[in-house]
Symmetry: D2
Subunit: 296 residues, 4 copies
């Protein structure tokens, strides 16, 4: 299949590579040309602007946020010039209103829009073990499905309204944030009672087996917030997305409100370059525990 | 080994049975005689009062709460009359001060006290798949260890201070409560956006694989709060234990505070006979969703 | 002094009237002409568009929100065409970024911008008993001061940075919201214990004498949320402004987070046309008390 | 009237003095004799134990908490030996269950119990400007009324069930705590935006005139948490009373939950000897503001 891929960050790069290796004819575009050149070695064609990556049957976008998407795909006028049978698949975490706007724009021009945000860190993208949550016109989703299968090992469809996939993705990120908050409180409680974090990590990751406990539990137990797997300001963005998605339908998310407050306190302590699990350090400090963060 | 077992509820019954089947000489006691008679068929001796179950090397107690323990083991004067080499193992969820008091009383009389609360519902107890968290004098824990292995498949030791096992157990129950709260908020968010609970359950239990998501996610998705696996007032007891355990060392647990408030709202709606996952229904109602609870 | 006044809602109308009665030469503009015609009877000149109200020494704007200000004063290009010695005074509750943007735009064109949001309901505006919080270039504030004295009885200046007056105003509205939440919780507590709301209102308004307790306490005690003095969606706007103003400098406002959640629950119950004190009814319902709202 | 007074702390001393000066025949008792000797100079008789202060028509108790009352009045057996026509008036802040227990005990012995907790700091007690909240048997309250009028300037009766006065008192202390929390958040917000605390204090105490804003606003603005007017651990006691009073009737008080968490964080920072307004410093530190507390 002739496919375009726009946005070659850590995630996008790995995803595009799987498409190439799956035998597809892939044209890639990135603001800086380095990542595209890497993929060219594997057989990708390099587009010199985003629009050149939109001439296939499917075009994926994996851009940072609403603003990037707004600039690259909407303000550029690309969508208005797409051929009618193109499917645009956005795999990034964007807001529900942005997904609705893309749906509207594509529908107006006869092309199709699919939201397909995914779960998994860069390692999972490399291993083709993403969990992909898709929604959009049934025929469009079906057409893209073989491509998703090259990138992920779990796949969920939430109907024809694309934005619903974003609702689910945003709720999932909220779930992750809540797990971090809970772990942070639990670690503070047991540490203040004199229990060794390592011993507690063994307990919690074994008793409640879930990769979130293993990965975030380890970060918290060892107070290893650098280098960041997912930086704190991105965490704020995601929690704010959850709150906005709730506000849109009058749903209070008190746990999200609480986490937002913790993140602000962490930012106030200048932890903005750290992993968002660093809210556990804010909790620890409020409990009167020594911080594990150097230089503070 | 000659062993006593006091308290034959759903959990205690299954645990005592594993000891019998493991070849031990088990004397059992329960306030009502029915469960003891059941175990007698398998070879248990029946004690006519709690003290008769205390003549072996080890005596287990699996009583409902602090108050029951206070009455049966302390006010009765049993501990004061125990022989010196007895190990008392309390496997129930009790408070940290109660564990400290038991430690003090046993030490004063020359016997040993081990806290060994456990994770797992009655089915897990039947399947000998409990996770057991122990703490107490090293020799005492070592002596009892073969008996724990008959009841559980995971075992953690948190040093010589018995009460620390209770701190860990209480923190674990808090973790479970927090997961329920998070699931409740996530389900309310997606349901209000029109997503089918069943589809969301598939997503959440598959993406964040953890038996808590599977078990509680299913209850919430199907709004099946009856029959209760763990009744709401017990949930309040556990969350209050977490808050008290935090207060004892000046650790705030904002998520526990939030859950306590949700439980009170659920009790105010007369949901006291339901599973504690029913706080998800309070969240749903506050989101303007129809309640799934009959007769309300 | 030659003065313009843009935006003749309940508040603006009363404020403009005081300027007229104070002997000033006032030109008024409102989207709908009715309120302007009323004021014309008292001596105001009617502007046929916003710009015609901008030819004096001072122009007041009292528009609903950021969006209205953006449209009327910024997108229209008015500011760019103002004469250099004009002072623009915005007395509405707007966001900090909007106040910064107005400061920047006026500075770029040589005119001056003063933020002067005020406290007081329409009755207070009519009685010239507003509390006015101003900030902006010292000379500009001094020039307008005699006009403020015609409208209010309390006056505070917060320096030369206009946006700081908005920070103070937003914090004040947050204070009001927090008082409502506290009263709501206190009333729910005592009502559930069987205490008559009227008796409690006497106590609370007398013991903690403050007009907030008198006004909002009375609304809550009598569950009289209609007609709304300040509608719930405006309350959400204000609490969101507080949260955003905190987020801009990494300050968590947990009480504001909590109130936002209560407001969302109230909106989910379709209380959008009621006074924002109706969050007390959400609290009461969560406490298992009967709602005082008809038709629910 | 022949009157006894038990408990001569800062508050009790001033209250007893007003009774003496009002011409009553007052017998006083205090654990340490100093304060009693002071009052003897004004004409009080000194009791050598609590019971000797119980031979008049009315006996007031102003002891620190439930535990002191339990020991002095209940475990001592005094109530059981009271003459039938004595009225016991407890003016301290005690729990609802304790007030119920006193009601029960007095009723069983034919004497009468009145709860009459009061609002006001020691200065107010000295100035006879307390606000007194009473409840109890109508005849008993009427009998004591002239004595209350000597101590306070505001008086509220909440019916015949004594414990209801305690519910009201506890709700009032919660109101005070919530005001402190709100002020703490508001000050953090404006300080982080660069506004001078003194200027903000002028604004807030003038715009929302209430002695709470004046007194606590001043403490927070000047970060003057020592000497403590009301120590932090007493604040925790009061907030826990509010939470327990809510739990007894299934009423969630989310603001009280939040404040409890802030107090724990303050205690974790070793602020236990400071005024409970010090939670404002916790809020400020979480906002990244420098603490005003010396030596930290």
């Amino acid at each position: 299949m002739k496919v375009g891929f726009i946005g070659l960050g850590m995630m996008g790069r790995a995803m595009a590579q799987h498409l190439i290796r799956g035998g597809h004819d892939v044209t890639v575009y990135n603001r800086t040309v380095g990542p595209a050149q890497e993929l060219a070695k594997e057989g990708a064609a390099i587009a010199h602007n985003a629009e050149e990556a939109c001439h296939g049957e499917v075009v994926f976008s994996m851009l940072a946020d609403d603003a990037a998407l707004q600039e690259v795909m909407i303000e550029s006028g690309i969508i208005a010039r797409l051929s009618e049978n193109v499917v645009h698949v956005c795999m990034a975490t964007i807001s529900v209103p942005m997904a609705r706007e893309l749906t509207r724009l594509h529908a107006a021009h006869g092309s199709a829009y699919v939201s397909a945000p995914c779960f998994g860190r860069p390692e999972a993208a490399v291993a083709a073990r993403l969990a992909i949550v898709a929604a959009g016109p049934q025929r469009a989703v079906a057409r893209v499905r073989p491509l998703f299968d090259l990138m992920g090992h779990k796949f969920f469809v939430f109907g024809e309204e694309a934005a619903l996939a974003n609702v689910v993705k945003i709720s999932g990120n909220f779930y992750v944030a809540a797990t971090i908050e809970t772990l942070g409180e639990a670690f503070a409680l047991v540490r203040k009672h004199g229990i060794a974090p390592d011993a507690y990590f063994d307990f919690i990751s074994s008793t409640f087996e879930c990769y979130l406990n293993t990965s975030y539990g380890s970060i918290i137990a060892h107070e290893k917030y650098l280098p960041a797997g997912f930086r704190l300001p991105l965490g704020l963005k995601d929690v704010n997305l959850a709150l906005a998605t709730g506000e849109a339908v009058n749903v209070a998310l008190p746990t999200a409100s609480l986490i937002r407050d913790q993140i602000l306190s962490a930012l106030a302590k200048n932890y903005g370059n750290m992993d968002w699990a660093v809210i556990a350090d804010v909790i620890a400090q409020n409990a009167g525990l020594p911080t594990g963060i150097k230089g503070t």
